[in-house]
């Protein structure tokens, strides 16, 4: 019943349908009402402050900062600054007291749809420490405090509490799970060593997940985000595709055929692994049935085929082939039939990734000798260049909500990881640590 109520209370009710489709995951690729549409009205939201209710001085401020950035990145909300509207909104309390009511009325009068506030405390007893956070939400449409959340946990999950609250806000107003709790896998480079690491979607809390001291390349997530697949050089002579379970650190080899074994991609249902291998000569695409272990060859030609990426409904693949000379982006059915070329502009187009909503494919395009990101529709229409300027851009990967891309770039000389909105706005650098970071992959589920 609450779902029905959204419609009456919220301007963004239209998005509800989109959210419900999102949960269905596949088959509905073209029916999305996207928040990236130019005519989409963002919901104006103000964070009125997270008060300190005991603990260090920075506590509330830090949670507030994380929450505000999440709200902004969601692209669902338009973050409004109350003080700039002349509204003093400290100490709102938890109810609908007369002070609070005055603030809400002022905010609503200035066009603010949602006011969010809360409190946080950190208690230490001996070696144990506990953070408590409470967040509350006022909705001007229904003129009431529509609800809140209370979280408790170790201080190490402080940021995660703010992320989870931000995702609850997105969920409440769109039916989508939000992206603030998602992770990004990538490659950390020290000298000639490449290890796989995982970080939060905003670049924080990075952790290394391999430690071989040699080459581990191009990680890709399983659909449930519990596993990573990547290319590993087992010795200096052979290259395999390995799989690692993040919760346990268990790691094993899933493809070991000899030659190049690269660019693994699990189908959305997890039942098929598409990958490129050169064990029969040049790099070709193969499909491994993860249940029967049957292997099927998808491409047959004397040139390089690589980098498969699944359509969200699992029926098609986009991939790279240099059968025409330089690398270009192609499409085919998941059984290898119906191959057709997608990109015709430029002599270098590679690393395609199908958007989670199915309506776009991002890839690396060479334009005026620079390697930038481009986006195109699967029907070959609406090609646009997403990034500009100097620097080699590589490895685009979609956020699960399809509103952002993460990629690597050498725009600041050494390769680091950046996030950008799917319309080319809000470029944000995510990694600052380590010598070089590359090959990001965004986990596809929230």
């Amino acid at each position: 019943m609450t779902q029905v109520k959204w419609i009456s209370s919220v301007a963004g009710g239209l998005l509800l349908a989109a959210g419900a489709f999102g949960i269905l995951e596949s088959g509905a690729a073209d029916v999305f009402l996207e928040a990236t549409r130019p005519d989409f009205q963002k919901i104006s939201l103000a964070v009125a402050g997270i008060q300190n209710a005991g603990g260090p001085e920075w506590l509330g401020g830090q949670i507030e900062e994380v929450l505000k950035k999440d709200v902004k990145r969601s692209l669902v909300f338009d973050l409004v600054d109350l003080p700039s509207l002349g509204i003093k909104a400290r100490a709102l309390g938890t109810g609908m007291g007369s002070d609070a009511k005055a603030v809400f009325n002022q905010a609503a009068g200035n066009g603010v749809s949602v006011v969010v506030w809360g409190k946080a405390s950190l208690k230490e007893s001996g070696k144990e420490a506990e953070v408590n956070m409470e967040g509350l939400v006022y909705d001007s449409g229904s003129d009431e405090v529509i609800g809140g959340k209370r979280y408790a946990g170790n201080p190490s999950v402080l940021r995660l509490m703010a992320h989870r609250f931000a995702d609850e806000l997105v969920f409440r107003y769109t039916g989508e799970p939000g992206i603030a709790r998602t992770k990004i896998a990538y490659v950390v480079q020290h000298a000639s060593v490449r290890e796989i690491a995982v970080m939060d979607y905003d670049g924080y809390d990075a952790r290394q997940v391999t430690a071989d001291g040699f080459l581990n390349l191009m990680p890709r997530w399983s659909p449930d985000c519990r596993f990573l697949l990547f290319t590993a050089y087992r010795s200096r002579n052979t290259q395999d595709i390995d799989m690692i379970e993040l919760a346990t650190g268990k790691r094993w080899t899933v493809v070991s055929l000899g030659g190049l074994n690269i660019t693994p991609a699990l189908s959305p249902d997890g039942n098929f692994l598409a990958f490129a291998s050169s064990y029969q000569g040049d790099s070709e695409l193969y499909l491994l049935d993860t249940r029967t272990k049957a292997r099927q060859r998808l491409t047959v030609n004397p040139s390089g085929d690589l980098s498969p990426s699944w359509s969200p409904n699992g029926r098609e693949l986009t991939f790279v082939s240099d059968r025409g000379g330089g690398p270009q982006v192609f499409l085919m059915s998941a059984d290898g039939s119906n191959v057709r070329r997608l990109t015709f502009e430029g002599d270098y187009n590679a690393a395609p990734v199908w958007s989670p909503r199915g309506n776009r494919i991002a890839y690396v395009c060479r334009i005026h000798k620079e390697y930038k990101l481009c986006i195109i529709s699967p029907d070959g229409q609406n090609r646009m260049q997403l990034t500009t300027g100097p620097g080699i851009d590589d490895s685009p990967s979609w956020s699960p909500d399809g509103r952002h891309l993460v990629f690597s770039s050498t725009v600041h000389e050494k390769s680091h990881i950046y996030m950008i909105d799917a319309d080319g706005k809000n470029l944000e650098r995510l990694t600052f640590q380590g010598t070089r970071n590359s090959a990001p992959s965004w986990c596809p589920a929230s």
């Binding site: 993040l246 690589l306 690393a351």
Partner: protein, 210 residues
């Protein structure tokens, strides 16, 4: 009025969808249950090609919606196990560069053997012939431009072109192996053409042991 009708339509559609999702998550969940044991099995040995079930498990979402009187939720971050970087054993090199074996260099985007590279390979072939027990590995490398993935393919093309050239010069194919490092093992890291040229190379090493 129109707006009201539309909102009602959307609501009905979403209710129907929620119903559908409910069914979908049920069947997925039962798949999820069976997958719970799969990772343990997969990890129990070094059995290659074993796959746990990795389909989406909607039960994993922690979002419960805003509540009028929120109950306390514990927040934990159990996703990642710790990796001990000290566990990484230094790799034993079973190969060595030979001062007699020269690198061969390639053009931008190219895996063709130039005249100069051909001369270098002819000299390399003479050395390999006169060291008849030497096993030679050919590494294909690329400059930093272009994608990591395509550069691995390009590096392999370069390594294989070098191998084929050496075979034509009379070296037994069984003495030659290839590996591509793409742009992952550059010999220099400046962003200029002299460095790019140095990195677009076929590098020959002599394998010891096997």
């Amino acid at each position: 009025m129109k707006k009201g009708l539309y909102a009602c339509g959307v609501a009905m559609m979403s209710l129907a969808l929620i119903g559908l999702t409910g069914c979908a998550s049920k069947s997925l969940q039962s798949g999820g249950n069976s997958s719970a044991q799969a990772p343990a099995k997969a990890g129990s040995g070094s059995n290659a090609d074993s796959f746990p079930s990795t389909g989406i498990q909607p039960s994993g979402s922690e979002l419960r919606g805003l509540e009028k009187s929120p109950s306390e939720e514990r927040v934990g971050n159990a996703m990642l196990s710790k990796v001990d970087p000290s566990a990484s054993a230094p790799r034993q090199l079973d190969e060595a560069a030979s001062a007699e074996l020269r690198d061969v260099f390639f053009g931008y985007d190219s895996w063709a053997i130039s005249e100069e590279a051909g001369l270098g390979l002819t000299r390399n072939a003479e050395w390999i012939k006169s060291n008849s027990s030497a096993q030679v590995k050919i590494e294909g490398h690329c400059d930093e431009r272009g994608t990591s993935a395509y550069n691995l393919v390009l590096g392999e093309k370069r390594a294989k072109t070098v191998r084929n050239y050496l075979v034509e010069l009379g070296i037994g194919a069984n003495r030659l192996s290839v590996v591509s490092y793409g742009k992952e093992q550059p010999s220099c890291s400046e962003h200029d053409e002299p460095c790019y040229q140095q990195n677009r190379r076929g590098h020959l090493v002599v394998k010891s042991g096997k």
